[in-house]
């Protein structure tokens, strides 16, 4: 894919370095967990499952949940 096109000519096609998976692991674990918690609160809390009592979370993010395509109620 590193074909030289006229537009890209000045940019050197230096191959991108790979990042060792061992260096990635802690970020990936923590980051994914955090992101999943966020997605859960936007996408599912107080719908099918409920961690916080009441329906405030659900009602607050109600429109975003519908428009992002998550099942809401």
């Amino acid at each position: 894919m590193a074909h030289p096109s006229v537009l890209d000519a000045p940019v050197a096609p230096a191959p991108l370095p790979t990042i060792p998976l061992s260096e990635l692991a802690p970020f990936a674990l923590f980051g994914s967990l955090l992101a999943l918690v966020l997605l859960y609160f936007v996408g599912a809390e107080q719908g099918a499952v409920s961690l916080v009592a009441g329906s405030n979370v659900h009602e607050f993010v109600h429109d975003a949940r519908h428009l992002l395509g998550f099942p809401c109620h």
Binding site: M1, A2, V11, A12, P13, A14, P15, L16, P17, T18, I19, L21, E23, L24, F27, A28, G31, S32, L34, A35, L36, L38, L39, F41, V42, G43, A44, G47, A48, V49, G54, S55, N56, E59, F60, V61, H62, D63, A64, R65, H66, L67, L68, G69, F70, P71, C72, H73
Partner: protein, 268 residues
């Protein structure tokens, strides 16, 4: 390195959420309003109106924005971590191409494919009694889609030495579509649109939902790719006189400041 990418991903997610909010506000909210109007008009005559915990105004402005912002930051952060794995492992691709492919994969796996089976529904569509089942099915479809997308990329890379990159990608794509097709054939269909719900409102709501997600993922992928290319640009050290600018090692902080080196290059 990972730290820079993660920060960049989350910031790009904020920008993406703002753009998605504009699309949601301009296009999506009117359909939500029509759906709620239908819901109120078709309530059982004796039914007591649900107490309004959060007002419609709050829901359609700050609530919508907060939801999109949380989603955008989560998607941006996750995206950057997947990008960190993908960089240099998808073949000899540039940063922006890699970012574009990862965003496309995320959009397909997290939204487009699951929504082909279980499309987005406005208020009033969907029986509250089946929310548990529908949520499980939706997330199951999402997991299957993500697994198939990841599997497709791995297969394409494995097949590339034998068939060439293009044919390998096509083979992987066909394989992925077959697996998704079979899985969706087996999963139960969703069929809960109430009698008389306007089909046009439903269609427009779903198109708006698609537009919001497409805006978000496209912004994440394209902006992240552009910023990463800018940060990766090799420092122009042609002239022996010019001291090597303190660039590569410090690139961990903020992304694009390397552009300060350009006058040196033109002067050479």
């Amino acid at each position: 390195m990972v730290r820079t990418l993660l920060i960049r991903g989350m910031l790009v997610g904020v920008v993406a959420a703002v753009l998605a909010f504009v699309v949601a506000k301009v296009f999506g909210e009117s359909e939500v309003g029509l759906a709620i109007a239908f819901e109120s008009a078709h309530e059982a005559p004796g039914a007591v109106a649900e107490p309004e915990v959060v007002s419609r105004t709050v829901q359609s402005t700050i609530g919508l924005f907060t939801g999109l912002l949380a989603f955008g930051v989560a998607v941006g952060g996750l995206f950057s971590l997947v990008y960190a794995v993908a960089q240099g492992r998808l073949g000899a691709l540039r940063a922006r191409t890699t970012a574009g492919l990862v965003a496309l994969a995320g959009f397909a796996g997290m939204y487009l494919l699951p929504n082909l089976k279980y499309p987005a529904n406005p208020p009033a569509v969907g029986n509250p009694d089946t929310i548990g089942e529908r949520t499980s099915l939706y997330f199951a479809a999402m997991l299957i889609s993500l697994a198939v997308v990841v599997g497709g990329f791995v297969a394409a890379r494995r097949l590339a030495p034998r068939f060439g990159s293009w044919d390998a990608a096509l083979l992987a794509l066909v394989g992925a579509l077959v697996v998704i097709g079979l899985a969706y054939y087996a999963l139960p269909a969703a069929d809960e649109t109430p009698e008389g719900f306007p089909a046009d409102v439903l269609w427009r709501f779903r198109v708006d939902s698609l537009a919001i997600q497409a805006t978000l993922w496209a912004t994440v992928g394209l902006l992240f790719g552009a910023l990463t290319e800018r940060a990766n640009r090799p420092a122009p050290v042609r002239t022996p006189g010019a001291a090597p600018a303190p660039v590569p090692a410090l690139a961990a902080g903020e992304a694009p400041t390397a552009s300060g080196g350009s006058p040196v290059a033109t002067g050479a």
